[in-house]
């Protein structure tokens, strides 16, 4: 179980303050939705948790330890676009995470090792309902299938934290609710904490146990550079992680 502690985080780019005074204590196995207007630093915050960028000030602790300065297997991610590799089939996309770990030099498994990894990858494909599509390339899959594939690809590394960067923003409404149900199921089954960036309030309240809104307290044009976004609302959604 993974607790995340964000302590007075500030983020600046070229003298422009993007985020300021962000402090959060996130309980283990939370599903945190981050909402807010475009350009308020939601995705920046996700990149800080990912370790892709470092905060100008403040600290982000995962289970008491600072986030490493680069992405690693403990924090998985699903982006809105470009989340899966276009040159690999669905199965190969999922296998890749296993091959990175088990074949340091060639990153490619063969023979018995590959058959074992393949069986493991297939259970993940099945888990997201893509068993039939194992040998298809991403361009042959629909948007919803691609995002499900991206979820399975991230989950095979058993991340402690899963980051979702507007993962369902480009999906049709019907498909979106299917993927919502799947996402919630996958989260319930695992001991991971989820951070999801969304600009859809309904989506946020449907899925999350906690909804956090980022916004700038001052929004006059001449003040935008000097004041970053911070947490303006922090709402607990009462939903038991164990509920059906």
């Amino acid at each position: 179980m993974t607790a995340v502690s964000v302590r007075d985080v500030w983020m600046e780019y070229d003298g422009q303050i993007i985020l300021e005074r962000i402090s959060l204590e996130v309980k283990p196995h939370s599903f945190v939705a981050i909402v807010g207007p475009s350009g308020c630093g939601k995705s920046t915050f996700l990149r800080l948790v990912l370790g892709q960028e470092q905060a100008t000030k403040g600290q982000i602790l995962v289970d008491g330890k600072p986030v490493p300065k680069e992405p690693n297997v403990e924090r998985g991610i699903v982006f809105q676009r470009y989340s899966v590799f276009p040159h690999l089939t669905a199965l190969e996309n999922i296998l890749l995470g296993l091959e990175f770990a088990r074949a340091p030099v060639l990153a490619k498994l063969t023979g018995k090792a590959r058959a074992e990894a393949r069986a493991e990858a297939e259970t993940y494909l099945e888990g997201v309902g893509l068993k039939e599509a194992a040998d298809k390339y991403p361009h042959q899959l629909s948007g919803g299938m691609r995002q499900r594939l991206a979820l399975a690809q991230a989950l095979i590394k058993k991340p402690k934290i899963l980051l979702l960067d507007e993962p369902f923003g480009a999906l049709d409404p019907g498909i979106r609710s299917d993927v919502h149900a799947l996402t919630q199921k996958l989260w319930r089954e695992r001991a991971m904490t989820v951070f999801m960036v969304s600009h859809d309030l309904k989506e946020a309240f449907t899925l999350a146990t906690r909804v956090i809104a980022f916004d700038r307290r001052r929004n006059r044009p001449e003040e935008i550079g000097a004041y970053g976004a911070t947490v303006t609302f922090d709402i607990d959604v009462h939903r038991s992680a164990k509920a059906p």
Binding site: L50, V84, E99
Partner: protein
């Protein structure tokens, strides 16, 4: 009447339209040739079709009396050997350097400016240096092709590596990939099809430098033959040679495009081109 920009030819019409300019050029040639030969039967500038036919028969199908070789084929083998060697070396160099420099910021900071500078050297200006260093050897000619195309292929591939979405590189890191593994499994496979594009673009320059090198210092090759025959005003051989070189270049380009299509179906589908 619909707008001109909305009129699209059907399949058959497209073939006819594509053939039309060629037919017009041939007609213009025949007319010009007939006119010049009528004025002066000894004219060599625009040989008649039957003289071209005889010349083609002589160089492409009959062994040379002195050496016993069929001239066109030995020339073609020599030229293609040099061309393919030069292109293969350039492609390998640009692939390795392109991926390294495109993916690793430290390598990029070190080499990017130098590669840009190298790409600015006019290749023919270094030809004398190559001949002084390597002598009038095969190495000098292949090196000229490499100097002509490797720097810009490398720059092209660096850009193509940089075009791979950042999200993919980040995702690969969250899946546990090391720099080497990401280069091998995420970047390299996506750069292969782009290398084919790069080679197709470079082939024109590769032919140019090959013909130049052969014209100046060689005893075989298509470029050597053309420049040799120029002294004898042998347009009846030069013209078929130029047509043959064009055909070879066209065939190479076409086969590269087909190979790209067959080997990397995901790439052409993604690009939306056949």
């Amino acid at each position: 009447m619909r707008r001109l920009i909305n009129l699209k030819p059907g399949h058959g019409a497209a073939i006819v339209l594509a053939a039309l300019p060629f037919i017009l050029v041939i007609i213009a040639y025949l007319a010009g040739s007939a006119e010049r030969l009528a004025a002066n039967p000894e004219d060599k500038l625009l040989p008649a079709p039957h003289s071209l036919g005889e010349a083609i028969d002589r160089v492409a199908f009959k062994p040379d009396k002195r050496t016993g070789d069929v001239v066109l084929w030995t020339d073609t083998a020599a030229s293609l050997g040099r061309l393919l060697a030069g292109v293969a070396i350039s492609a390998s160099l640009s692939l390795i350097i392109g991926i390294g420099v495109g993916l690793v910021p430290l390598l990029r900071a070190t080499f990017e400016t130098m590669i840009a500078a190298l790409a600015m050297i006019p290749p023919l200006a270094v030809l004398p240096i190559l001949f002084l260093v390597f002598g009038l050897t095969e190495v000098a000619k292949i090196a000229l092709i490499c100097i002509c195309i490797a720097p810009f292929m490398t720059r092209d591939l660096i850009l193509r590596v940089r075009e791979i979405p950042e999200e993919e590189i980040v995702k690969a890191q969250t899946l546990g990939g090391s720099t080497w593994q990401i280069a091998l499994r995420v970047v390299l496979p996506q750069i292969w099809p782009r290398l084919f594009d790069s080679i197709r673009l470079a082939l024109g320059s590769a032919w140019l430098s090959l013909i130049a090198a052969e014209a100046i210092a060689s005893e075989s090759g298509l470029g050597y033959r053309i420049f040799l025959l120029r002294r004898f005003f042998a347009m009846d051989v030069i013209l078929p040679y130029v047509a043959w070189i064009t055909l070879l270049a066209f065939a190479l380009d076409w086969s590269l495009r087909r190979m790209q299509h067959v080997l990397f179906p995901w790439f052409t589908a993604q690009r939306g081109a056949g």
